[in-house]
Symmetry: C2
Subunit: 353 residues, 2 copies
């Protein structure tokens, strides 16, 4: 066994180099463009709800999807207590493979990339659901994902002022420090209620695996768009059910969101609209300036497909990354046994000596 199928491997450092080369803002915008393009060909994808393995402190998920050319999947966990032991709440990696032969072609980190794609997805949704003149956003939950949301909404939605709140003041301080040079007005608030005062958009991106009520009906005003990112797992919600009842709710992939989204609190016939229908013009989005819209986001495999293909293309363009040997190439593909046999004599001497 002397040669291997070429599989591109992108480490976290490689992805940092790619993003630094291109610019974070342009990466978020680029992933947003891919997501829009891929959502417009939604029916071409073989879709399924992700497979989740729940345990006491978190969840591990596999998220597969494929079109007729490429199969993609992401491994991702969600363990809110991880930060107490110095680990990220969310860690991820992903693979692209050829559908026609099953050959894996790309192995990439996705911890960093997932933050980019989640923010890009939120902004794509807000751009088509929020009022066009939105300039202020509340950002509740100031953890690992928060700055990416701020930058995405600045560049893609036109947000200029962010009102921030987190139960952990250190998280807010980190967010503020990171946004110093990001051309955003940042207002530190003492409660979620204070943060939502007068805003056009509310983004909730909290980590606790509980049925929380970050947002209650009294905090919602006419015309608001709610970007609900943190409620993404059974038993992990952010919105009071009355907020959902009073709003028009949009989702990524309905079968998955029924299980994982904030709408897990609602009956199975609670009306929702898949976002791709709005993007493709098949369904109306916002119907009036006073309507309350909710994007009940949980994260769908298609967004990772978009991000993986985007980062792969950038890696190739900038010649970043290495190859990794994960699948053997055999001179006779039916002779797997021969791979072990080349030094058989030596082994047998050892085994039966």
């Amino acid at each position: 066994m002397s040669s291997f199928l070429p599989m591109l491997y992108l480490s976290p450092d490689d992805v940092v180099r790619i993003v630094q080369r291109v610019g974070l803002s342009r990466c978020i915008t680029g992933v947003a463009e891919r997501i829009e393009r891929d959502f417009l060909r939604w029916p071409q994808f073989d879709k399924s709800a992700r497979v989740a393995c729940h345990s006491r402190d978190g969840v591990i998920e596999l998220m597969p999807i494929a079109d007729e050319r490429e199969f993609a999947f992401k491994y991702v966990n969600g363990h809110p207590k991880n930060t107490q032991v110095g680990l990220p709440t969310v860690m991820a990696f992903g693979v692209l493979a050829d559908v026609d032969t099953g050959t894996p072609r790309l192995l990439s980190e996705l911890t960093l990339t997932t933050a980019i794609r989640t923010a890009a997805m939120s902004a794509v949704a807000a751009r088509s659901l929020a009022r066009p003149e939105c300039r202020t956003m509340a950002l509740i939950g100031n953890g690992a994902q928060s700055e990416f949301q701020a930058v995405a909404f600045r560049d893609l939605v036109g947000i200029r002022t962010i009102r921030v709140y987190d139960v952990d003041p250190a998280a807010t301080a980190k967010l503020v420090a990171n946004l110093v040079q990001q051309r955003l007005e940042v207002v530190i608030c003492n409660s979620a209620k204070e943060a939502v005062q007068g805003v056009d958009i509310v983004t909730t991106v909290t980590a606790d695996k509980v049925n929380a009520t970050i947002l209650t009906p009294d905090m919602v005003t006419a015309g608001m768009h709610v970007n609900a990112v943190g409620g993404d797992c059974p038993g992990k919600t952010e919105l009071h059910s009355s907020v959902l009842e009073g709003a028009t709710v949009f989702v990524e992939y309905e079968p998955q969101t029924r299980i994982e989204g904030d709408i897990q609190q609602m009956s199975s016939d609670f009306p929702v609209t898949e976002l791709w229908r709005v993007l493709s013009g098949q369904s109306p989005g916002r119907s009036s300036a006073s309507e309350v819209t909710v994007f009940d986001s949980v994260g769908f495999a298609l967004e990772d497909y978009s991000a993986l293909t985007f980062i792969r293309d950038l890696a190739q363009e900038h010649q970043i990354g290495r190859t990794i040997e994960l699948v053997p190439t055999l001179s006779d593909p039916k002779n797997l046994f021969g791979a072990f046999e080349q030094q058989r004599d030596r082994h047998e001497q050892t085994a039966f000596a």
Copy 2:
């Protein structure tokens, strides 16, 4: 970002080195022991049918499973036409992760390892289902998996004579050459019907993605054990339905085998027994010397968990393998944004120059 969580990476070459160090026979026996041990604690595992993405020429599958400590999954394809372009029909890799934090710990090739675990699984089943005095086996389908079956049945079941047949004479020639020094009598046959003459066990391990009838009722004799390995995907079967009707059928994980196994031809209430019940003494296996038993094997995630933990332990014992950087370690796990920001000034000069 300067340090990374240590993740062990085992390439195909690493696995070859491990197997050559320990011996193939002892690896198959070792994986068989792990499978038996893990099947005996079957209720402790979080199990689901694998997720399959079907396309014209094949299938790509993700196979997750977890106990309370470790999460495992395998990526595996099945593309029968791959050998025409020099690729293996089946390619695979897998991951082990910590359930309590979601941290991935091992990335390993599984193309070679899957051949070992599939043979080990078949032998474990036959050892508890076939008549104890079995000495002869028909081996129909002489592709990548065939020699591993031969060695496993020699060592674990006591098979001394193999009667082999394949539609491709070159595959049979390869099998014969590989088994020359394996202390087995090999009889080359001109048809499946000829191969099954007088045998105690029939192993079918063919690759075509069709509803084939490799084994018809006239070929089955009293007391025979049928090890049906190749029928493992919707539209891919090997046994005539009457063979199943006349036999007592055992499966790995019933919900998955109903979809993928030879019993996909039968009604949903066709009686089957999960093998773990036989191994644990909860269900009878073979009830008489004249009964025909069928192990309708499709390959279940627990077998890959067993193989992954086995090969990981051997790699650590023999200090084979490298580390790979797939997840970033952050000085502040809530500060993912900071990973991109360290060289922000330099980037901004580039981006806006």
